[in-house]
C-alpha cells in the first residue's frame, strides 16, 4: 500500500490526512516533534488565560486517529533523503515514504537583536512556548514588567494574555500606528486607543535596540533604539512575525526560498514531495495574496486541495476570495475581499470609513473609484456573513448594492443594535448620492441554499 508521510501535525497536515483518508485507503503517517495530538495553535492564548485547558484545544478525541487509521509518530525529522525516499528522525530512526508532505509551519522571527537568546526572552508559537511562558511569566510577582516587541496579531494576543494576570506590559511597535501596514488609518487608530484603554503601555514608532542580562543570564532590561531609554523588565516577548520552519531541509535538494518553493499544484521541485501551510512558498503570488500565507484558513485549504492531488485527481490550489478575522482584546475584526492600509493601497482603490461616535465599532469599505465595484470590507465590532460577501464579490456587485443591503450581511447575535442606517447615511454624504437601506430579507440571505 502506498505510504504517505506528512511532517507536521498542524492544521494543514491534519486536514490533508483527513481528506486523504476519506478518499482512499492509503497508509498515512503524521510525524510531529511538538505534541502527540493535533491541537489548535490559535487557541494557545486561551490556555494561559484560563479560559480552556490544553486538552480543549484538541479538536479530535484521542481515539479518532486510530479509528481513522492515521498513524502518529512523535519525533523530529533532521534529514530528508529524497533519493532513497527516507526520513531520519531524531538522528537515528528511519521512516520510508512513497509520498512526502511537508507541513512544518513557521517559527518566530528573530532579527539578531543583542540578547535575543537570554533566559526570559521568547516567542509565542508552539506548545513549548506556552509551557515556557508559564515559567517566565506565571504571575505579576515573578514578572513585574513584560516587554513585547512587534505589533502584529500575535503581539497583541500576548499582551492580552499577560494582562489577564495583571502583569504590566510595554508594547513596542515599529510602525507609527498599530498594524497600519494592513489596516487603514481610522481602524488602526481605534485599536491604538483600545490598547491604551486596557492599560497597556503602547510605544508606537519604537524599536528594540538591545536586551540586557543580569549576572545569571536572565533578561533584566531592554534599551529602546530611538530614545536610548532603559526599561527594566523580567520578560521579553518577541512577536515580530514568523517565517517558514524549513531549516532541516537545507541539504535535501528540495528548492527553498524563504519557505519550500511550490507550484500551483503544491508540488516541490522533487517528485513525490509536496508542501502546504505556513511553510509553503508559491513561485508567484496568487492575486493580491502573498507568496507565503501564514494563516489558518489557507493551511486548511491547501490541505484539502493536496488531498485531491494525492488521490489521483491532480488539481491546482485556487483559493477563493480573501477573508480573515482576528480579535484585538475585546474587539472582533473580520475582513472580506481586499481593503488596504495606506502602504499597499492601489491607485483605483477608494475607501469609505465609518466609526461609531462612542462605541469601539467601525468599518471600512473599499471600492473601485472608476468602476464602483465593491472590493472589500473590514469590520470592527460588527460580525458579517461570510457567505454573502463571498457571493457579492463573485457577482462583482457595485459598492452601492453592498451598502444598501448591509442588513442582509449582518451576522451579530439577535437583538444586537444595528447600525446599517447610520452607516448608509454617512455613505450617502460621502458620495453625495442619497440611498435608502433595504430591509433584511431571509429570502435573499438563504437564496443559494
Amino acid at each position: 500500500m502506498e505510504h504517505i508521510v506528512i511532517i507536521g501535525n498542524g492544521i494543514s497536515g491534519v486536514t490533508a490526512a483527513r481528506h486523504i483518508r476519506k478518499l482512499f485507503d492509503k497508509r498515512i503517517t503524521i510525524i510531529s516533534a511538538e505534541t502527540d495530538y493535533f491541537f489548535s495553535r490559535t487557541a494557545l492564548m486561551y490556555v494561559y488565560m484560563g479560559h480552556m485547558k490544553f486538552e480543549h484545544t484538541q479538536p479530535y478525541e484521542n481515539h479518532f486517529w486510530a479509528k481513522n487509521r492515521i498513524e502518529l509518530v512523535r519525533g523530529f525529522v533532521n534529514r530528508v533523503d529524497t533519493e532513497n525516499k527516507l526520513l531520519y528522525l531524531d538522528g537515528s530512526r528511519k521512516v520510508p515514504y512513497d509520498k512526502l508532505v511537508i507541513a512544518t509551519g513557521s517559527k518566530p522571527n528573530k532579527f539578531g537583536w543583542p540578547g535575543q537568546d537570554l533566559h526570559g526572552v521568547q516567542g509565542l508559537y508552539s506548545k513549548q512556548d506556552l509551557d515556557l511562558l508559564e515559567i517566565n511569566a506565571p504571575n505579576k510577582k515573578v514578572c513585574q514588567r513584560a516587554v513585547i516587541v512587534g505589533g502584529g496579531l500575535i503581539g497583541i494576543e500576548l499582551a492580552e494574555m499577560l494582562r489577564s494576570r495583571d502583569i504590566p506590559v510595554t508594547f513596542l511597535v515599529r510602525e507609527s500606528s498599530f498594524w497600519n501596514g494592513v489596516l487603514p488609518e481610522g481602524e488602526s487608530q481605534m485599536i491604538n486607543e483600545h490598547i491604551t484603554e486596557h492599560h497597556i503601555d503602547l510605544r508606537l514608532a519604537t524599536n528594540l535596540k538591545e536586551i540586557k542580562a543580569d549576572e545569571n543570564g536572565r533578561v533584566k532590561s531592554i534599551i529602546i533604539e530611538e530614545t536610548g531609554e532603559e526599561l527594566p523588565c523580567q520578560f521579553v516577548g518577541l512577536t515580530a512575525g514568523v517565517s517558514p520552519n524549513v531549516d532541516f531541509l537545507k541539504d535535501s535538494g528540495i528548492e527553498l526560498g524563504r519557505g519550500v518553493k511550490v507550484n500551483r499544484f503544491l508540488e516541490t521541485n522533487v517528485k513525490d514531495v509536496y508542501a502546504i501551510g505556513d511553510c509553503a512558498e508559491q513561485h508567484e503570488a496568487i492575486g493580491n495574496r502573498r507568496p507565503i500565507e501564514a494563516v489558518w484558513y489557507t493551511g486548511r485549504m491547501m490541505g484539502e486541495t493536496l488531498a485531491q492531488t494525492l488521490c489521483g485527481n491532480r488539481i491546482e490550489y485556487k483559493p477563493g476570495h480573501w477573508f480573515n478575522s482576528a480579535k484585538f482584546l475585546d474587539i472582533e475584526y473580520q475582513t472580506y475581499g481586499w481593503v488596504f492600509g495606506a502602504r499597499g493601497r492601489k491607485e483605483n482603490e477608494a475607501q469609505f470609513h465609518w466609526r461609531h461616535p462612542q462605541e469601539k465599532i467601525c468599518l471600512t469599505v473599499a471600492y473601485d473609484k472608476d468602476s464602483q465595484a465593491f472590493l472589500g470590507i473590514n469590520t470592527f465590532g460588527i460580525r458579517m456573513r461570510h457567505e454573502l460577501f463571498d457571493r457579492w464579490l463573485t457577482e462583482g456587485r457595485e459598492v452601492k448594492h453592498v451598502m444598501t443591503h448591509l442588513a442582509d450581511a449582518n451576522f451579530d447575535p439577535e437583538f444586537f443594535r444595528t447600525y446599517e442606517k447610520d452607516i448608509l447615511h454617512a455613505f450617502s454624504e460621502h458620495t453625495g448620492e442619497s440611498l435608502t437601506p433595504k430591509k433584511k430579507s431571509l429570502k435573499r440571505i438563504f437564496q443559494s441554499l
Binding site: 484560563g50 480543549h56 485549504m301 484539502e304 488539481i315
Partner: protein
C-alpha cells in the same frame, strides 16, 4: 499536561486569588446563608420576618456586590479569565465541597423535610418556620419545605441573574433572555401560584399550578386529584386544565417550530433559569465526548418512555369503562394515545428518515416498547392494577427516581461536578420532546459563518449541553442538534464571530454538505462528495 503542571508547581500559581472586596462580598453572602443554617439547627429566631429578610437580603447583596467588584471595573466583553484556575469552577476542592453541600441539601429537602422543621399540623419550626411570615403574606398559609425551596430558588435566579447580566452586558441576546427567565421564575413559578392559593375557598379549589410548567415536566399534572380539583373549580379550573393540555399539544409545538426549543429551555423554564444563572460558572464542566453523547441519548429517551407510560397508566387507572358516564373511557383514551404516537412515529419515519439516520432504529425501538406496554396494560390489567403493579407504583417510582433523585439531587446538586445542565441534558423528558421537534421540524439553527472558524474550541468548552460545536463549525456545517437549548453562549464566546443562532427557512437548514467558503467552487464540490 505534564510540563505545564510541573512549571506551575515550580513557580507558583497563576493569579486566582480574590480581591478584598470579593472576599467581603462572599462573607456577606455566607452570613445570610449562616442564618438559615442556624435556623435549621433550631436556633430560635423571633418569627417576625426580620431575620428572614436579613438573611435573604444578605445573600442577594453578597452575590450582587461580588459581581460588581468582579465585572464593573472591566471593559465589556468575554469574562472567562482564570475559569480553569479556580478550584470552584474547575472541579477542584471547592467544587466538590459545593457539590456535596448542595446534594445534601436536596436529600434533606426531598426525603427528610422534618429536619428543616416541617410539621404536618401547623407549628413549623426551624428554617421552615423562619419562612412562615413570607408565606402567610403571600398565600395566607404557613410555609412548607416547597415554599422555602421556591423562595430560595427565586432569590438565586434573581441574584445570580444580575451577576449574569453584568458579565454579559455586551450581549443583548443574553440580557433579554436573562430578564425573561428572571421574570418567569418570579411571576409564574413563585408569585402566581401563591396568589392562586389565596383565591382558593369554597368555590375554588385550584391545585398548585406553575403555569409555565408543561407536561411531561410536571408529570403529575393529569393525576386524579388535580384533574378533580380543576374540574371542581368551575370555569377557571377548566380553563387551566385546557391550557395544560393545549400547552403540550398546541402552544409548545408552534413556538418550537418558530424559535427552536430555546423559547422554553433558556427563556422560560425554571430549571433552565437556575442553570443559566446560578449554574453559569459551571457550564464548562459538561462532558463533550462522543461517549457522553451516546449515554445522553439513551438515558433521556428512556426517561421519556418512562414518563409517557407512567402518565398514561395513571390517567388510565382513574378512567371508567362506561361511555354513558363520561365520554372518555379507558379504552378510548388508550386508543387515542396509541393513535397519536403512531401518527408522530409514522410522520417521522416517512418524511424525516434521512435526518434521523441511525437514530431511527432507536426511535423505532422506543415506539414499539411503548405500544406493546400499552396494549399489555389494556389486556392484563384489572381494577386498580396495571400489569402486576399496583396502580400508582409506577408513578411513585417515577417521582422518586426522576422527579427527586435525577432532577434535584443529581441535576442541581452536581452542578459543580458535572456541569449546570445535567438534568436538562440527560434527564428532562420535556427537553427530549422539544429536542425531537427542534431536530426535525423547526426553523431554528446555529449558522456557521462560512470558513471563519479557527477550531479554537471556546464554543465547545462553554457549551453547557456538551455539544461539540466546534466539530460542526470547523467543517462549515450548521449546528442542528436536538439538545441545543439556544443559550447563545457558544456564539458569545467565539472570538471569530462564527456562530449565529437564528430562525430561517427549513430548506437547507441541516447542511448535509460542508460549505466551507474560501476555497474555489470546484474543489468544494469534490470535498462534498461523500
Amino acid at each position: 499536561m505534564s510540563t505545564y503542571e510541573r512549571s506551575m508547581a515550580l513557580t507558583g500559581q497563576p493569579p486566582k486569588q480574590m480581591k478584598t472586596s470579593q472576599k467581603l462580598a462572599s462573607l456577606l453572602g455566607m452570613s445570610g446563608l449562616f442564618i438559615l443554617v442556624l435556623a435549621a439547627f433550631n436556633v430560635e429566631f423571633p418569627a417576625s420576618g426580620w431575620w428572614l429578610s436579613a438573611s435573604l437580603l444578605a445573600m442577594s447583596a453578597g452575590i450582587i456586590w461580588y459581581s460588581y467588584s468582579t465585572y464593573a471595573g472591566k471593559h465589556k466583553g468575554i469574562k472567562n479569565d482564570g475559569v480553569w484556575f479556580k478550584s470552584i469552577s474547575s472541579q477542584g476542592f471547592w467544587g466538590w465541597m459545593a457539590g456535596v453541600a448542595l446534594t445534601g441539601f436536596y436529600i434533606v429537602l426531598y426525603f427528610y423535610p422534618e429536619y428543616l422543621g416541617l410539621a404536618e399540623k401547623g407549628g413549623n419550626t426551624g428554617v421552615i418556620a423562619l419562612f412562615d411570615p413570607l408565606s402567610k403574606l403571600l398565600s395566607g398559609n404557613p410555609a412548607s419545605q416547597w415554599f422555602v425551596y421556591g423562595a430560595l430558588y427565586t432569590v438565586a435566579i434573581l441574584a445570580f441573574g444580575i451577576k449574569f447580566l453584568w458579565k454579559y452586558r455586551h450581549n443583548r441576546y443574553e440580557i433579554i433572555r436573562t430578564i425573561s427567565v428572571m421574570f418567569f421564575q418570579t411571576a409564574f413559578a413563585f408569585l402566581i401560584p401563591e396568589f392562586m392559593a389565596r383565591l382558593n375557598g369554597d368555590k375554588l379549589n385550584l391545585p398548585y399550578y406553575d403555569l409555565k410548567n408543561i407536561w411531561p415536566l410536571n408529570y403529575y399534572n393529569f393525576e386524579a386529584y388535580r384533574v378533580k380539583s380543576f374540574i371542581s373549580s368551575g370555569d377557571i379550573g377548566l380553563a387551566l386544565l385546557i391550557f395544560g393540555i393545549a400547552s403540550v399539544f398546541i402552544i409548545s409545538p408552534i413556538l418550537t417550530f418558530y424559535f427552536g426549543k430555546r423559547w422554553y429551555c433558556s427563556w422560560v423554564c425554571g430549571c433552565g433559569g437556575l442553570a443559566e444563572t446560578a449554574g453559569d460558572s459551571f457550564r464548562q464542566l459538561s462532558d463533550k465526548s462522543v461517549k457522553a453523547w451516546n449515554i445522553e441519548r439513551w438515558v433521556i429517551h428512556s426517561v421519556l418512555v418512562f414518563v409517557t407510560l407512567t402518565t398514561t397508566a395513571v390517567v388510565y387507572s382513574y378512567l371508567g369503562h362506561d361511555t354513558s358516564k363520561y365520554w372518555l373511557t379507558k379504552s378510548t383514551f388508550l386508543y387515542g394515545v396509541v393513535g397519536l404516537l403512531t401518527l408522530v412515529f409514522g410522520w417521522a419515519m416517512l418524511f424525516k428518515r434521512k435526518q434521523l439516520a441511525k437514530d431511527a432504529q432507536y426511535g423505532a425501538i422506543g415506539y414499539f416498547v411503548i405500544i406493546i406496554a400499552l396494549v399489555g396494560m389494556h389486556l392484563y390489567s384489572e381494577e386498580g392494577h396495571i400489569f402486576l403493579f399496583k396502580s400508582g407504583t409506577l408513578r411513585k417510582n417515577y417521582s422518586f427516581l426522576i422527579g427527586s433523585i435525577f432532577s434535584g439531587v443529581i441535576g442541581t446538586g452536581f452542578y459543580p461536578v458535572l456541569g449546570n445542565r445535567v438534568w436538562c441534558r440527560f434527564g428532562c423528558p420535556m427537553a427530549a420532546i422539544l429536542g425531537f421537534q427542534q431536530r426535525l421540524f423547526s426553523r431554528f439553527r446555529i449558522t456557521t459563518n462560512g470558513g471563519q472558524c479557527i477550531s479554537c474550541g471556546n464554543c465547545s468548552t462553554y457549551c453547557e449541553m456538551g455539544i461539540d460545536v466546534r466539530a460542526y463549525a470547523q467543517k462549515g456545517e450548521n449546528i442542528v442538534r436536538s439538545s441545543c437549548v439556544g443559550c447563545g453562549i457558544c456564539s458569545a464566546v467565539c472570538p471569530r464571530g462564527v456562530l449565529k443562532l437564528e430562525n430561517g427557512p427549513l430548506k437547507g437548514r441541516i447542511d448535509s454538505q460542508q460549505v466551507l467558503l474560501g476555497n474555489d467552487v470546484d474543489l468544494m464540490q469534490l470535498v462534498n462528495q461523500k
